[in-house]
């Protein structure tokens, strides 16, 4: 039988891949669902250290997502004036 900790080690790898390349809408979902809401007296089984990791990476990724969005706006071709 697999040790129970195997279920806890899996979420950390999942968190890393979860956030890589995530756009703003997915980051918002992660923030709401994984960082907020009621916790039943600390019984979050999926690896609480991973949630702290999410919070730290989330702030960085929200910054990166903002930078990417602004760069995309700058690259859009200018609107042509109507004759």
């Amino acid at each position: 039988m697999k040790p129970r900790r195997a279920a806890l080690s899996r979420p950390r790898a999942g968190l890393d891949t979860l956030l890589d390349g995530a756009g703003p809408s997915l980051l918002d979902l992660v923030d709401q669902v994984l960082n907020k809401g009621i916790v039943v007296d600390g019984e979050v089984v999926l690896g609480l250290a991973g949630v702290d990791l999410v919070y730290l990476r989330l702030s960085a990724l929200l910054c990166a997502a903002d930078g990417l969005r602004r760069a995309q706006r700058r690259r859009r071709p200018p609107r042509r004036a109507r004759p």
């Binding site: 709401q32 009621i38 039943v40 702030s59 910054c63």
Partner: protein, 239 residues
């Protein structure tokens, strides 16, 4: 060993089937007094994957359509069994009831505010501090910093534009340029379009700050305070 997975706490939902949980399991209700915890029995704790997060949110949103007051649970919240869950409802009843009253009929909009670390923030007037002794000046600066962290005063033009649309606010200051602040607003259900329109009107007054709104969400940011010491966010509720 199976786990009892918590989705939300609510007051009396509309009658009828509640559907299934993120693993396809039937949803179950545990009641204590007028508090209802909605759970599902899963064979294992769910893995942290995008599909599972979306499924959890989808269940919470479905419950919110069936009940006017819903407190979402954080992804991954589990309990041993129903007696443990009911005991938890009993112990946390005062906070849960207060939070349910707050979020009743509401939904959440979230703003991410970007800019430089000093944009739009006024330091205490030098003249106001000159008359104070060193200790008092230190305390005045600490008070200013606390007020800034808990209220995001640079968003005052936005709050004026939103007016009474905002029933409650939760502020998270990041100070990680360019992400400065996340602000979560509790607004009446069905008013997200008005919210975004007010935001658009306020944008010119908030420059050089930039804002991105998301929502509506179930009231995730207003749920944690129901169980006292979980919330690290500053709170302001309208009288």
């Amino acid at each position: 060993m199976s786990v009892r997975y918590l989705y939300a706490v609510l007051r009396a939902p509309a009658p009828g089937a509640l559907g299934v949980g993120l693993g396809g399991e039937p949803l179950e209700l545990a009641r204590w007094s007028n508090l209802i915890a909605v759970t599902g029995t899963l064979p294992d704790p769910p893995a942290v994957e995008v599909a599972a997060l979306r499924a959890h949110d989808a269940v919470v949103r479905r419950l919110a359509r069936r009940a006017s007051a819903v407190l979402p649970a954080r992804f991954g919240s589990v309990v041993r069994d129903e007696p443990a869950l009911i005991e938890w409802l009993r112990r946390r009843a005062p906070g849960l009831r207060e939070a349910l009253s707050l979020v009743d009929g509401g939904e959440q909009m979230t703003l991410r505010v970007y800019g430089s670390a000093t944009a739009g923030v006024e330091e205490p007037a030098a003249g106001a501090l000159e008359a104070l002794g060193p200790g008092a000046r230190y305390l005045a600066r600490r008070l200013h910093a606390h007020q800034r962290a808990s209220t995001a005063p640079e968003l005052a033009p936005l709050r004026r534009a939103l007016g009474r649309l905002v029933r409650a606010e939760r502020v998270e200051r990041h100070d990680r340029s360019p992400l400065l602040v996340s602000v979560h607003h509790l607004v009446p259900r069905g008013t997200s379009a008005r919210y975004r329109a007010s935001l658009a009107r306020a944008r010119p007054q908030l420059r050089p700050l930039r804002m991105r709104a998301s929502g509506p969400w179930p009231p995730y940011a207003f749920a944690a305070a129901a169980v006292d010491d979980q919330s690290s966010m500053a709170a302001q509720d309208s009288p």
